[in-house]
Amino acid sequence: MINKDAIGRESEVMTTRVEAENVRRFAEAIGIPYVGEVPPTFIITFRGGTVPGLDLPEKGLIHGGQKFTYYRPIKVGDVLNYKRRVKNIYERAGKLGKMTFVVQEMEGRSATGDLVFTATSTLIAREEG
């Protein structure tokens, strides 16, 4: 059972710099040439920023959906501040039993505070038994 009290809670703010070397490795892993552009899914490499009290199961977690919104393109050299927020936690009865949906939104801003991106992920946890 995932604690619904976590709805609305935020993580600490994390800071990252978009390094050319990391973008190049990411592009090569996808199978595209690196030409200085940042692939649209690169944001997924921004780790950390755990929401306190959100205990996600380690096993059986499914990625149900992902949405990215860019207010401007991300460029190599950008310094971005980001944090996660739990937007919603809800249950649905499915073919495979009870499922809990956890919707988290990550928001990224420039050093001057301008909104650069949001990334919304929906994770699905299946309840055992």
Partner: protein
């Protein structure tokens, strides 16, 4: 790609074909930081009932993203990109990424995108909004 002026609703985006390998899943795990053993450890993936390793959903989404950026070739920028993950991808599958322009706006196009496997099962489906400068 064609200039924005000639893009029309109904036009298709050039397809991208992708055949994932175990080595690519390892490479993507290292590049993305997602080391979940369901993508890397055959025995573990069997034990948790997946019948073998599966590709990262985000790696499949990245293939659809690659289809878009290779088509755009720097002409426009992706301002929104959204997918639902519907079926699993395994090493050796043949994945076809496709897209079609759904709607043309003043300075943007809205595209429907999807990825299908060799059995024509829908792996992911979603949409993208691409914005062009004046």
């Amino acid at each position: 790609m064609e200039k924005f002026a000639v893009l029309q609703a109904g036009a298709s985006i050039p397809e991208r074909v992708w055949i994932p390998t175990d080595m690519q899943l390892r490479q993507y795990a290292e590049a993305s930081g997602d080391y979940n053993p369901i993508h890397l450890d055959e025995k573990f993936a069997q034990q948790v009932g997946l019948g073998g390793v599966i590709a990262h959903g985000m790696l499949t989404m990245a293939q659809v993203g690659a289809m878009l950026t290779q088509w755009l070739n720097g002409e426009g920028s992706i301002s929104q990109f959204e997918v639902r993950f519907q079926n699993m991808v395994r090493p050796g599958d043949t994945i076809h990424c496709t897209g079609v322009i759904k709607e043309k706006l003043a300075n943007a196009v809205v595209c429907d995108v999807k990825a299908l496997n060799q059995k024509s099962m829908e792996i992911i489906a979603g949409s993208a909004v691409i914005t062009f400068k004046d």
